[in-house]
Symmetry: C2
Subunit: 397 residues, 2 copies
């Protein structure tokens, strides 16, 4: 057997967890707070059914949907993203500033392919999204964590680490962050855009949860404050349309999109056209806005149920109250090791993501934390699952 | 603006051609023999419509199709690939030997990510598929062309170049090759598998056209002769199902698939589930075999029309008679430069792929060749388009 490239060795440590995450979601008896999926009840099955029934029936539209497409995506969907998702955030985009990609994660891959050389440093939040770390590591980058507090990245620490490491990129999830549920403040968003411009660093702004707000006021993206093109805004359509459709987009200056065109061509030619056509219709028929209201209501109830459970069942824990998204972050007393506790939780048929996985070098690894997702669990099951989980945790105190 | 990774510089030369290829397909007045698309009339629009109508309607199947999926693909589709596509070729596969990917090209990306280090040598056919070269170059590999004749790769030249370059990989399109339309003989298929095993080289067997046979006898894949796991068999579902669905698969030993699981996760999480579900149903309802017969008939007529046109309109040209697939390869008299001729062809509203693009170092670049695709052009338009093309060519003689 021919040997694998050495980049593969950097990835091994996280693969088990990603696998666990997928597996915990498929055991019907386990109540899983592990994955990051939205509510099954929030998936627009009937809407997509009706669109498919009509669109795939029209001879021309149907055969366009089934034929090869453009590497940057169908114009209808790019325009819909501009009109329904970017304009409302104050982001001014033209068709050539957008590329449609195969789900939120693909942007991390394509942007890494475009920018990262082996040994390049990527600054990240602490904690941060495990799967993105895996992408950066696959491209042989070194990930360095910066300090965070309840307002997001601590700018003083970012500034110090820019000096120390000369990073190529800063990766940020500014809204209802994965895994912490926290939101970066307005002031820090502006500061991050400015740091990118001043030091010629790519600010990779990953904002998949921003539409899923259940309380509080929306903030403009980091990209809104970008005057030099250093910020690349990437997003997913998984939460507001469908994860199974594998759609997302990257919004950036045209010279960047032109290069991503080449990278995308050499990655998988183009994103699937069938679901692009269905999604464009979803926006163009005005179905998105009422659907968004509906799924916010569904997830708000779950968020509220989860917050109540944590408050009453885990009185010793610190936790984040997220204004949206799919997660909260729970910090247990020091003696609880959430990785070691995983087996017992499995036996009790409850799953979560141990916090350790979300830490990389640069900040202390904290073994007493966990990410708890409420998105895919109905309220009555959140109650049962949290009873199971609190029982396991209490046995450790 | 932050600088791009140096790998991007290796890709520039081919991006223009890929762009031209997509553009020539979208101008309604141009008759394009440039792209590699199958016939619009061969797309199973009604079948997919009916499946979507039923499957997306059932509450459970519908919400499964719209939710997150497994990085290696849904079991139903993997099983269908085994039963309908691998077994008939004599390939023994289990579910864990397969990963479903987002179209044929994605396998080249994932396998390159898994194996290639900067500077690694990939041996390829001369001529070979431009888009795959672009992938290997993005991973900073050096592509070296080997001699081919009417039976495929000349084994003596491959053996000599293994000695000279110690390649990591040999990339082969054995059936109705892109761009030549040629098929690798049985004997050479066996020899390639053996060379891979003997020298511990990855044989990347890319076989997207193998089902599209219009005459002659099917041959077993190179993978059939592989006894060491060195051959990786990759394929696309674009030609037999739908390019817009972006589906393909990689068949390999389990330890390779386990690693591709990680690479896929860090590329785009998983392939879109909606079209996987539709495609699995397409196979499981027994729709594939009659559909294949129908699309073979459609493309056979186009192949025959094209062969007649070339014979009568381009009597000075050598050309390949392909037993299947979507292309033929035309060699014009030495003085004709098919790249220089492109502008005139554009003016005459006809498009083709100039041969130069398919050559890399190791073999002479031949400027007097062109790839002519007949798949996406109806017979009456093949006639008109070839009249336009022969007029342009005759003006050069």
């Amino acid at each position: 057997m021919a040997g694998f490239a050495k980049r593969m060795a950097y990835m091994q440590s996280t693969a088990d967890v990603v696998r666990y995450l997928f597996e915990s979601m498929t055991d019907p008896e386990t109540i899983s707070f592990g994955g990051g999926a939205p509510a099954r009840e929030a998936l627009p099955v009937e809407l997509i059914h009706d669109i498919a029934n009509e669109v795939l029936n029209r001879e021309q539209r149907g055969s366009q949907a089934l034929q090869y497409g453009n590497p940057i995506g169908i114009p209808d969907l790019r325009q819909a993203v501009i009109d329904h998702l970017l304009q409302p955030k104050g982001l001014q985009a033209r068709l050539e500033n957008l590329i449609i990609v195969a789900g939120g994660m693909e942007s991390m891959n394509l942007v890494s392919q475009l920018y990262l050389e082996p040994g390049d440093v990527v600054l990240v939040e602490s904690p941060t999204f495990i799967q993105s770390i895996q992408v950066f590591k696959m491209f042989e980058a070194r990930c360095i964590a910066c300090e965070t507090d309840e307002h997001g990245l601590v700018i003083e620490d970012v500034t110090a680490k820019i000096k120390q490491y000369s990073p190529k990129m800063i990766y940020v999830i500014p809204t209802f962050q994965n895994p912490s549920g926290r939101t970066t403040s307005l002031e820090r968003r502006r500061a991050l855009a400015e740091l990118g411009s001043q030091h010629d660093i790519v600010i990779l702004e990953d904002d998949p949860y921003c539409e899923m707000r259940y309380s509080g006021e929306a903030l403009p993206p980091i990209k809104y404050f970008d005057e030099t093109g250093n910020t690349i805004f990437v997003n997913s359509l998984s939460k507001i349309f469908s994860p199974g459709a594998r759609l997302g987009y990257t919004f950036a200056d045209r010279n960047i999109i032109d290069k991503l065109y080449e990278v995308k061509t050499a990655t998988n030619s183009h994103t699937n056209v069938i679901t692009q056509v269905l999604c464009a219709e979803f926006f163009n028929r005005g179905l998105y806005e009422p659907h968004l209201k509906r799924i916010r209501d569904i997830h708000r109830e779950r968020r509220d149920t989860m917050m109540n459970c944590i408050k009453f069942m885990l009185p010793d824990a610190n936790h984040v109250y997220p204004d949206g998204g799919l997660f909260t972050w729970v910090e247990l007393p020091e003696q609880v090791d959430t990785t070691a506790m995983l087996e017992e939780a499995k036996a009790q048929k409850v799953a979560y993501m141990p916090g350790r996985e979300f830490f990389v070098e640069g900040q202390p690894i904290r073994n007493n934390c966990m990410r708890v997702s409420f998105g895919s669990v109905p309220p009555e099951k959140i109650q049962v699952g949290m009873e199971r989980l609190s029982k396991v945790i209490r046995s450790k105190l």
